[in-house]
Symmetry: C2
Subunit: 326 residues, 2 copies
């Protein structure tokens, strides 16, 4: 602790090898178009390793005018094991291109996203749902080169596909009147609306009436009231916004002395770890979250290179897992 702990700089490496700082920089950055003899390269790398040299990121960002940071914005509703998996896929794909992913969790009292973007000097800012125009503009203002996805990206297609899969499964099981269980949470609404739209499309395609939408809080009696409402309307199966909401509906049934799937079929979304442990085990729509992460990563990388990127709903990412609740 007595040492001043001065950091090792590229000048130290240069001095150790007996070359200029420029050469060190060329070696460490694999500068294309600059021929470096193998011997020199080796000695530089060895010295850097031996001295424990690590480029100072802020200095690098300042000089180069760009950073290696990608920021992913999350909030309490874009969370859970599935998101974890998306993040892993994304981080791994970015790491392969020497980019570092960090997360920001928005919420009460936390800093506004543009501030965070500026604080880490992110070159790209990502989200799991589209940024509106004003937010995008603020992020560009804060120094981001790429903001993704925006409203023009057809990310909403993914969510509609989810709803469609849920409804088609129930319709194939012979249900003629479908309900939809939405949580009463503002943050969830953008996604909930898209999923509901997908359910509606499937119903229309099968010649059925539009789904009966009821709000279900994560409380058994709230769910019980909704269950009563659906049964009154002749609904025999409901699509839930998420597995959590689906579990609430199961609890509502239990409270009324009823059970899925005979009294009401229930299908969720996410395949959370406890979905298969519910009573009865929950039918749900899962998605290949690693693939989704990689796809997002591809889009960022394309965009960072200044090329057009494609971000389209790929139905193969989603699949319905039939269990005993339908």
């Amino acid at each position: 602790m007595a040492k001043a702990a001065r950091r090792v700089t590229s000048a130290d490496v240069a001095r150790a090898v007996g070359v200029s700082r420029t050469t060190v920089s060329f070696v460490l950055n694999d500068r294309p178009g600059q021929s470096i003899p193998e011997e020199t390269r080796r000695r530089v790398l060895e010295a850097a390793q031996r001295l424990g040299y690590r480029p100072h990121a802020p200095a690098r960002a300042l000089a180069a005018g760009r950073s290696d940071i990608v920021l992913l914005s999350l909030h309490s509703m874009t969370q859970g094991p599935t998101v974890t998996s998306v993040v892993e896929g994304l981080a791994a794909a970015l790491a392969a291109r020497r980019l570092t992913l960090v997360l920001h969790l928005g919420g009460e009292g936390t800093r506004p996203l543009p501030d965070v973007c500026a604080a880490v000097a992110a070159s790209a800012v990502l989200g799991l749902e589209p940024f509106d125009a004003a937010t995008s503009a603020a992020l560009y203002e804060a120094g981001a080169d790429v903001v993704l996805p925006t409203e023009t990206d057809s990310l909403a297609d993914y969510q509609r596909e989810v709803g469609r899969l849920q409804a088609e499964h129930l319709i194939a099981r012979g249900h003629g009147r479908i309900g939809y269980a939405t949580p009463g949470i503002a943050l969830a609404e953008p996604i909930a609306n898209e999923r509901l739209r997908g359910v509606g499309q499937a119903c229309a395609a099968a010649g059925l009436a539009p789904p009966v939408v009821l709000t279900v809080d994560l409380e058994a009696d709230s769910a019980a009231r909704a269950v009563a409402g659906w049964r009154q309307e002749g609904v025999s199966a409901v699509c839930a916004y998420s597995d959590e909401v689906a579990v609430a509906v199961l609890a509502g049934l239990r409270e009324r002395g009823l059970a899925a799937p005979d009294d009401l079929a229930v299908v969720g979304v996410e395949d959370m770890p406890t979905a298969r442990l519910a009573g009865p085990p929950l039918t749900t729509v899962a998605f290949d979250s690693h693939a989704l992460g990689r796809e997002l990563a591809d889009a960022v990388l394309e965009a960072l290179e200044g090329r057009r990127y494609g971000l389209a709903a790929d139905a193969r990412h989603f699949r319905l897992i039939p269990r005993s609740s339908t």
Copy 2:
């Protein structure tokens, strides 16, 4: 898009006001010991606002030798709604001191933590479980000023307290032989072991035999086997590592045609959203996650100022929520 989009610098602000860059810096950083007339201060702030000036974080970090970034390291087991809440509390408390919190989610193929620390130039690195000596050293090497918590911090006390609360509740309910359900996951083991130790202490204090430990995967039949094992040993109540594991045990009971609490009482940890929706609603240990976040924030702030910090288990943060599974 035609504009070169040059960023606004403090020199632009200085020029607009007609003062030196130094003065601008003094005003924006509230430099103590430098008297600035109210009129000048006002004009600088106004110009900065009007031009949309935002200090360039990397340049600032380079010049000042420190950054405003705090990095929190998570992995798939330190995740979920409760952690979200801890993060919110932490982020809010840090934001009040002009520090920015970002998250790193470790996992397969992601960058090593020291790399991430260096990439964002974090001045502090936090975790939800202690860093071992080697990791701490690597983080300091990577430029962190503060690493927290370490093995010398009594953070483990928190986890023991959790286990103790679970066991004491069951013992108070008259159970004489206690089981422990641990997940078969390496990442969870450090915490699981501490919680188990707390359970063991409570058992010993009540003059009971040590808990019967069985591994429970998040599958109904794995849990069913464990249930059979406990009943064979005369266990009438089990503490589960988490709510998820507890829900698995409930599923295992169901598979055997049994039910909590009569055939086996079950208590979880976390109070996840679906805990109250389980069949039967789950007794669990919840904790005041916002308070935990604030406490962590206080410790970081103290440590960043170079002062000693205290990080002690406060039992008031935890409470047992009795429901119908015990």
